[in-house]
Assembly symmetry: C2
Homo-oligomer: 202 residues x 2
């Protein structure tokens, strides 16, 4: 295919590198960029590099932040007694949107996955232990494991619960069950079995 511009071809390639963006979508996005006013494109262009330059990991919870300590860890409105452990910063967004959780977080930046060669030392478990060791005397009462219900999630939950048991902190995991608005008929049998197992008194 003879493209009409190296710069455009280059931009298409850059868009194609993004996750779940194929060649066709990349073309559409690049064409969209060519139609935008220069100042709009400049804003996008600087947002990219600014994100990269400003972001760092919170020294307490390992979530991404622009400061030494993130807004959630720094907030006096949030309880330090409950720490919710998640896989990725996106999961913090997702839980924050529920407006239900008023504790703090710990972001593992990955999950134990022996098949992918990711062991306990490749994710932020050491930081979690240091944090618990530091805070435990005064604060942490419960660790909520909010990991994805996958094989890797289960492995990580198993590993963490064994590791943390000696610290005598209550460890919980988020419920597995039928999603709101869906239909029992269409639930897979593993989910349904977990929903039955996790039944609660009404």
């Amino acid at each position: 295919m003879q493209n009409t511009s190296d710069a455009l071809e280059n931009l298409i390639e850059e868009f194609s590198k993004l996750p779940q963006i194929g060649r066709k979508t990349a073309q559409r996005l690049a064409m969209y960029i060519t139609r935008q006013p220069r100042e709009e494109v400049l804003k996008f262009s600087s947002a990219l590099i600014e994100t990269k330059d400003k972001l760092r990991f919170c020294s307490v919870c390992c979530n991404i932040t622009e400061n030494e300590i993130c807004r959630i860890c720094d907030s006096p409105q949030r309880s330090s007694k409950v720490i919710c452990i998640v896989e990725e910063p996106q999961d913090v967004f997702a839980i924050e949107k529920t407006n239900e959780f008023k504790g703090k977080y710990h972001v593992l930046h990955g999950i134990i996955s022996p098949l992918d060669g990711i062991g306990p030392n490749d994710i932020r478990i050491r930081e979690l232990l240091l944090r618990l060791g530091r805070d435990n005397g005064n604060a942490v009462e419960e660790l909520i494991l909010a990991l994805n219900p996958t094989v890797e999630g289960e492995t990580t939950i198993l590993y963490l619960s064994k590791l943390i048991k000696p610290l005598e902190i209550k460890i919980t995991r988020i419920a597995r069950g039928i999603p709101i608005g869906s239909d029992l008929e269409f639930a897979d049998e593993v989910t349904l079995a977990k929903a039955l197992e996790g039944r609660v008194v009404v």
Copy 2:
């Protein structure tokens, strides 16, 4: 939702402005950016603004290019006797990929759509007429209308064919019919009717 970084929030918003990118995808893309090495993000960032700065419209066919005249218009291997008229630069990509067309193009940058307030003067029809007036004595023998088979496409085809008739240039349109690999059973009746109408001798 309390986000942990203004720079990140800003990047998510920039990604959300792209066509067919929702908030969730924008979040995923922005998170992907935070995980990339700085030089990769810098490449993406400069590709954006470079595309915007370098691109212009070919003075002959109105396709996007980095030069006064695009590579296709400038190529001695391409015949000037056949001009394929398309709606957008993407359509040039699509036709080039077939490797079947060895003529030149004309990009209208839109389609006549009275409902959206887009008339003949809003798209590059004037440029086409100027080009035909300039070249006609020596070259153009056929205009292929490769517009989308929509109401707007039909309107534009009708308008162009009336407009160009006095110039006595052969005007054709690409075939409408059953797509390769699909099933008659699932074709809509309009497509099937057009396929019957456009039947060819084997």
